[in-house]
């Protein structure tokens, strides 16, 4: 029966981000937070695996203390306990730091057969934490997985890659990162929402880790993505369509 760890990140909801077009500054003060989209698939896959094979599912997250809001949300989706590794300095971690913190917690405290992560986070989408964590734990990993099956002491997975499907087999313990099309996460029912608050949460602080997270990347700027476009408007009338076609001809993009 597999002991499964699923890692998730509490991220700013990019849909709430407002942009000042002249300064290209992002307005983040009224953004909501959510469990990173891809991590919902990771949690769902862990829970499905448990439904199929038994075992246990533990959710682990790293973030600032305000990410506490995420715990009941995550637990309502099925895991039976959560590890909440938090410190005010964990607000804007880079992938290498997140992986190092996760590794430090998992190594010392948790026994596991399988770790499931999302392919990337919906804020940074660096897609590094999964493979980095596997390296730090010294376990094999498979990224971009859209099917997985437990076969005794191994796990067989299908990776969806740019040049086709690759089926690979890994001995446990192992780590996989899953694609969004691996499953459709269920909406938690009300009983699960109410039960979430009664599940154990283990709080771990920076000083419990005995770890200094070295910075390897320096973010020098975050600006709204812009495109220089002409933004010309036309109606649906014949005259207007003709104007558009004329313009496309002049641009030399149709021939």
């Amino acid at each position: 029966m597999p002991r499964i760890i699923t890692c998730y990140k509490w991220v700013k909801d990019e849909a709430d981000i407002k942009v000042d077009t002249s300064s290209r500054q992002l307005t983040l003060d009224r953004v909501g937070y959510k469990i990173s989209d891809y991590d919902r698939n990771a949690i769902e896959e862990a829970v499905r695996m448990q439904e199929q094979h038994g075992g246990s599912v533990i959710a682990v997250t790293v973030g600032p203390p305000s990410a506490k809001q995420s715990l009941k949300d995550a637990l309502s989706r099925g895991p039976e306990e959560a590890y909440f590794i938090n410190d005010p300095s964990f607000a804007e971690l880079e992938p290498a730091q997140t992986a190092a913190i996760l590794a430090a917690v998992i190594k010392g405290r948790l026994e596991y057969d399988l770790i499931i992560c999302g392919e990337g986070s919906s804020d940074l989408y660096a897609q590094q934490v999964g493979p980095r964590l596997a390296e730090l734990l010294g376990i094999p990993c498979a990224t971009y997985v859209n099917k997985l099956a437990l076969e005794g002491t191994r796990i067989n997975v299908e990776r969806k890659l740019d040049d086709g499907i690759e089926k690979i087999s890994l001995p446990l313990p192992a780590l996989v990162t899953v694609l969004p099309d691996i499953n459709t996460p269920r909406l938690p029912g009300l009983k699960q929402v109410l039960a979430a608050g009664k599940k154990p949460v283990h709080n771990i602080g920076l000083k419990d880790l005995g770890l200094t997270c070295e910075v390897t990347l320096n973010t020098t700027g975050i600006l709204a993505a812009t495109m220089e476009r002409r933004r010309l408007r036309f109606g649906a009338g014949n005259e207007d369509i003709r104007k558009v076609v004329d313009a496309l001809l002049k641009e030399g993009v149709i021939a």
Binding site: S76, L187, P188, L190
Partner: protein, 379 residues
């Protein structure tokens, strides 16, 4: 004082929003047009544990509070007011009297399948000649050995055609007037129960409304709810709670009208600028938002009173009165903001305006709510 919802209530609201985005918004216009009962969505409400929200888990409920139930009705109604009332009638008018007045056996037999969503509940009080004057009902119940025999016709019965369990009010002693009314649990399969004419309604068209005809309808005598003669009191107390549900429904409709108005007024360009740049539009939207905020506080407060075990009859009446009038007034304003488009089928505000009107009528008209409020103040 704490105006924040609990984390659980926030999570619940988020999941209802995702649910409506996924399952309800895409079909709401269509089921309104066709007058089709969304059975597939109702089945999913049960999977989400929303069919018995405020009832204990031992009876198949979710064991949450009444405020949580309001949040669900509000958010469902924001997408589809028909689904809001299907759930509201089921939960507060059919399940609640069994929970409140039923025996342990009645709860096991009838409340459990209702809470699990295996059966849909319905509430049969209104008759052609007895609307607001509920005690003027002519449906009778006569004890015959171990059975009650019911005769009469109930009309405007929400969930009538789809229900498995009906709470039916009938006179066991006509001479006593209101004090001669009793409440009964009538299962769909009871001999003599028939669904009559379906109503073709102005709004909430996806919720099914019909006549329920009882012709020598025989039910075991243990299906009497409470005592003989308690019916009128059961009906009135049940309606107190139901009104909070209707207030939540009206709130959801009004919120949807605001959402649509904000979106449309920012998109619609006239004279070279979005119409939201006009003060006339801004004022309508400001008034709308303010009234909705007030309606929400009244509604949540009434639910909170009920959860705290405080009296809530007046509070429920105030919430329903204000929320219903808010919904009616501001869905009309929302159509106004949309101009000609708002009058066309397919635009959500057209449906919202039709759906809003009923909230001023059923489970006590706005006039009845004022009577209840005044009665509480002047007694």
């Amino acid at each position: 004082m704490d105006f924040r919802l609990t984390e659980e209530q926030e999570l619940l609201r988020n999941s209802v929003r995702e649910f409506t985005q996924q399952y309800l918004e895409p079909i709401a216009g269509e089921i309104d047009e066709e007058g089709r009962y969304p059975a597939e969505v109702v089945a999913k409400l049960a999977e989400m544990d929303w069919m018995g929200i405020p009832y204990p888990q031992e009876y198949g409920g979710a064991g949450a509070d009444y405020l949580s139930y309001c949040i669900v009705v509000e958010e469902l109604s924001r997408a589809c007011a028909s689904t809001g009332i299907i759930l509201s009638v089921h939960t507060s008018l059919a399940s609640w009297p069994i929970f409140q007045f039923g025996t342990e056996e009645q709860k096991k037999k009838y409340l459990v399948p209702l809470c699990k969503g295996e059966k849909i509940g319905s509430f049969c009080l209104t008759e052609p000649g007895a609307g607001t004057d509920a005690a003027a009902g002519t449906t009778t119940a006569v004890l015959d050995g171990d059975e009650y025999v019911l005769n009469g016709t109930k009309h405007f019965i929400t969930n009538g055609p789809v229900a498995g369990i009906y709470i039916v009010f009938a006179m066991t002693d006509k001479s006593k007037g209101a004090k001669g009314m009793s409440a009964f649990i009538v299962p769909r399969e009871a001999p003599g129960l028939k669904v009559g004419k379906h109503e073709n309604k102005m709004g909430i068209r996806a919720s099914q409304t019909a006549e329920i005809i009882l012709k020598d309808c025989r039910i075991p005598k243990e299906n009497l709810l409470g005592q003989e003669g308690q019916g009128y009191r059961i009906a009135m107390q049940t309606l107190d709670g139901g009104r909070i549900g209707v207030a939540a429904q009206a709130l959801g409709i009004a919120q949807a009208a605001l959402d649509e108005s904000v979106k449309y007024s920012k998109e619609r360009v006239q004279f070279g600028k979005p119409i939201s740049a006009n003060q006339a539009i801004q004022w309508m939207i400001a008034n709308m938002a303010t009234d909705i905020a007030a309606a929400r506080f009244l509604t949540y407060y009434a639910a909170w009173c009920k959860d705290q075990g405080l009296p809530y009859s007046k509070e429920a009446a105030m919430a329903k009165l204000f929320a219903a009038e808010t919904a009616s007034r501001h869905t009309s304003k929302a159509v106004q903001i949309h101009g000609g488009y708002g009058y066309i089928k397919g635009y959500k505000v057209e449906r919202l305006m039709r759906d809003a009107k009923i909230t001023e009528i059923y489970e006590g008209t706005s006039e009845v709510q004022r009577m209840v409020i005044a009665g509480n103040l002047l007694r």
